[in-house]
């Protein structure tokens, strides 16, 4: 059974007459104008495909459920899978183990839920410490390390250039040169009180 369609302001259940009205409607609960676009998925009955039992010894069975008839092999490891174990993703059939492996190694872009933006991290390491001058001694090498270590790591799944990596590397190099010069200059200046 589908869940109720609720008003976004007062959570009032919006009746069917309010759905898909071009001019919208007013919520009876809070009197706010609501536009409700309802789609056929609301009426769709969802049910999972149950695996079929193995009827003869000659039939291939599922690797994880020996009593279930195999429906498809895993596209990664070749194990036979029943309808319950088959995970279909981008036209490929995967077993739970391969799916988990792909998930942990970030190879399945379409199911990833989180990514670290290493380019932003490098840029932060290259910019914020230099505001206090001396922390740049740690910040600049850190930024360079992130740039070299994570250059090939996939960034956002959305369109994103590597301009932050370039900027971080340039800034970090400039800071290292600047700090080197500063140390050299300090070493060259005669100490106060020295004869």
């Amino acid at each position: 059974m589908s869940q109720a369609i609720l008003c976004g302001e007062c959570s009032w259940p919006l009746p069917r007459e309010f759905w898909n009205r071009v001019e919208g409607a007013r919520c009876p609960g809070c009197r706010r104008r609501v536009d409700v676009a309802v789609f056929p998925a609301l009426e769709r009955v969802r049910s999972g495909a149950l695996p079929q039992a193995v009827l003869a010894d000659t039939e291939a069975s599922c690797f994880y459920h020996p009593e279930s008839r195999a429906a498809v092999p895993c596209d990664e490891c070749g194990r036979f899978l029943c309808g319950l174990c088959d995970i279909e993703l981008d036209g490929k059939h995967l077993c739970p183990a391969c799916f988990q492996t792909g998930l942990s190694s970030n190879k399945l872009e379409n199911v990833e839920t989180r990514r670290i933006m290493y380019d932003t991290l490098a840029l932060v390491a290259a910019t914020f410490p230099v505001l206090l001058i001396w922390p740049a001694i740690v910040g600049a090498p850190t930024a360079l390390f992130i740039v070299f270590r994570r250059w090939r790591t996939p960034l956002s799944i959305l369109p994103r250039t590597r301009i932050r990596f370039y900027l971080a590397a340039l800034l970090a190099l400039a800071e290292i040169v600047g700090i080197g010069f500063l140390i050299w200059a300090i070493a060259r200046v005669p100490r106060l009180g020295a004869r």
Binding site: S2, Q3, I5, L6, C7, G8, E9, W12, P13, L14, P15, R16, E17, F18, W19, N20, R21, V22, E23, A25, R26, C27, P28, G29, R32, R33, V34, D35, V36, A37, V38, F39, P40, A41, L42, R46, N110, V111, E112, T113, R114, R115, I116, M117, T120, L121, V124, S156, I157, L158, P159, R160, T161, R162, I163
Partner: protein
Amino acid sequence: MAARKSLYRRLTGRRRTPLGYSQLWLAPDHILLVKSTRVAEHYQRFALADIQALVVTELPDRIPLQIALGGAALLWTLAALAVSSLFAKGFFLITGALAISAVIVDIARGPRCRCHLHTAVSRELLAPVGRIQKARAFLDEVRAAIEGVQGHIEHLPAEPVYQTALADRPPEVPQPPGYLPEMVFMLFLLDAALVLADLRFPRNQIGSALPTTFFAEIVLVVVALVRRAGRDSRRVIYGVMVAALLCIGWDAVNLTRSFTALAMEASHLPPPTRLMVSWEPLAHGEAIFAAAWRIGAGVLGLVSAYLSRTP
């Protein structure tokens, strides 16, 4: 370096917060909600085939708030005329102009709204869709994409439907009133005790606490009256509070007067003189009045609150 070809198309602008932003993107088979903390991105995907409904709810307008903010920003900017320093003039002009432009942009973006996406298992707030104008464009684009996957949506004819909706009205969940009024009346009794103690032991500086506790009374009474907002039906209690607010005002006037007199006296004396020890915040008659009305209001309010809670 050019970015690789992405399967995503931008649906909305970024909804920025102090700690990041969120944004909606459209792929051929799903909608992607990105929540970014700048350093990390979190993704939520909604398959077009699974989306059951999109609900856009208009939110109340903020015209009074916008006018107040605009006025405050204008006054802030005009403060530049009242200062002589060039730096101060520049500061007031620039910050004031920024505040005014923020208000203008807020007005220009139009009425606010809230958009929820319903699936069979979840109801997700789409934070990037925050304005009606943008929501309409968003709905048009997404509706076409979802129709492409799920099929056509039938538009129902317009007809009066409120009676049906009211018939389906769910039962209201009663909310028990809070205990803030009881706290206010307890504070009245405590302050009455302080006033009387100050009257009995004038050299113990108990009266020095009175400005703070009087201020606490004002804040609590105002908060209790604002929070009531028609939800609490205990009218006697709030009537007592309104009357008490007037009496607090009178006490505050007396307190300010005595403190001003003390300050004037101190300005004519040499610095080491310790006048605060001998300060009497309220004269004898004023103190009796302050204590008496507090005891009356406190007892009346607490009894009334107790009776209204007793079935």
